[in-house]
């Protein structure tokens, strides 16, 4: 088996395990990463919502927000885990295509 194939199998294993990154924080009641709070959390923590923050924070509507599907905020952990794996597959497919294109565009033709 080629090394590249082995490495992609490793990436596949990580994709399969990725819901751990969702389940463990949920289990241990860990909140957002520092500095990645939403408007409500900032309001609760500081008592106000900074004006500039309010204007900029809703600038971009991501198609798969927080590695889930749109409108899936209240879904249970099993459904969210499934969405997480789908997100990993979609994200990695797009990243692989872009990196291969960039790499092929840049790499020296000899060797």
């Amino acid at each position: 088996m080629t090394l590249t194939r082995k490495l992609w199998i490793g990436i596949g294993a990580l994709i399969a395990l990725s819901p751990l990154g969702l389940i463990l924080p949920d289990h241990f009641k860990a909140g957002s990463a520092w500095g990645e709070w939403g408007t409500d959390e900032i309001q609760k923590m500081t008592g106000y919502v900074p004006q500039g923050f309010q204007q900029l924070s809703e600038l971009w509507k991501a198609p798969m927000p927080d590695y889930a599907f749109q409108g899936w905020e209240g879904k249970d952990i099993i459904q969210l885990s499934l969405a997480y794996v789908v997100s990993a597959v979609v994200g990695i497919a797009i990243i692989a295509i872009f990196s291969l294109l960039i790499g092929k565009g840049l790499a020296k033709k000899h060797v």
Partner: protein, 226 residues
């Protein structure tokens, strides 16, 4: 460490965008000189690895979460400039597709995680591992140390970027316009949690994967994949 939209002022975002454009330009030139066609698939694996490892949020029970970035491992295997490009691709897709990290803060996030992290990590690795034979334990330890220092310095940068906001950008009565926490809170929070927890996660992931690769493919690691 993915700074969302709204935490950094537009001015800050322009500055980091302006810093990253020449970095990306030099990275492209460097990779053009050093990356062989055979290494291109590894660039894709590196970007994919960085993306997926960032999905493994590690909880501080009852507190916040954080994650490894994988950028130092990619830098050790493919060189820091290739790592810069690989992590940039991952960060851009995270921001656009998944809303993980802002659109306006892509420059700052790439500065921290795609530039500072792989370069600091790579040079710490080189310093500690210099002269040691391929496959030696010193290389594994050097990789772990590089990963730890790299992610902690990147977190320090993010902490400073957050922390200068209320100093520089506030209303007439002193209310913050963007990130509400100053340097006295942002820097200890960002560096503290990485020094104590997430830095060790990055170190462990980097050292373990490198050790595995050295065992599997002993030819692989002399100056990276070739």
């Amino acid at each position: 460490m993915h700074i969302p939209d709204g935490y950094l002022s537009p001015e800050t975002c322009v500055v980091f965008g302006a810093v990253m454009i020449p970095v990306w330009t030099v990275a492209s030139r460097a990779v053009r000189k050093t990356l062989s066609v055979r290494q291109v698939p590894f660039l894709a694996v590196g970007a994919a690895f960085s993306f997926v490892i960032m999905m493994f949020n590690v909880p501080i029970p009852g507190g916040s979460t954080g994650h490894a970035v994988g950028g130092v491992l990619v830098a050790i295997l493919l060189g820091p400039w290739a790592a810069c490009i690989a992590v940039t691709v991952a960060l851009v897709i995270q921001a656009l597709l998944f809303g993980d990290g802002g659109i306006t803060s892509i420059g700052a996030n790439c500065f921290n995680m795609a530039f500072v992290l792989p370069f600091v990590g790579y040079y710490v690795y080189r310093l500690i591992s210099s002269g040691s034979p391929v496959g030696s334990n010193r290389r594994i330890i050097a990789a772990g140390a590089g990963a730890y220092v790299g992610i902690c310095i990147a977190a320090l940068c993010a902490g400073i970027e957050f922390g200068v906001q209320p100093l520089l950008f506030h209303t007439a009565n002193g209310q913050a316009l963007y990130c509400p926490y100053g340097l006295n809170i942002a820097v200890p929070a960002m560096t503290g949690e990485h020094l104590l927890i997430f830095g060790w996660v990055e170190a462990l992931v980097t050292a373990l994967v490198l050790q595995f690769l050295q065992k599997q493919e002993s030819l692989l690691v002399e100056g990276g994949i070739s």
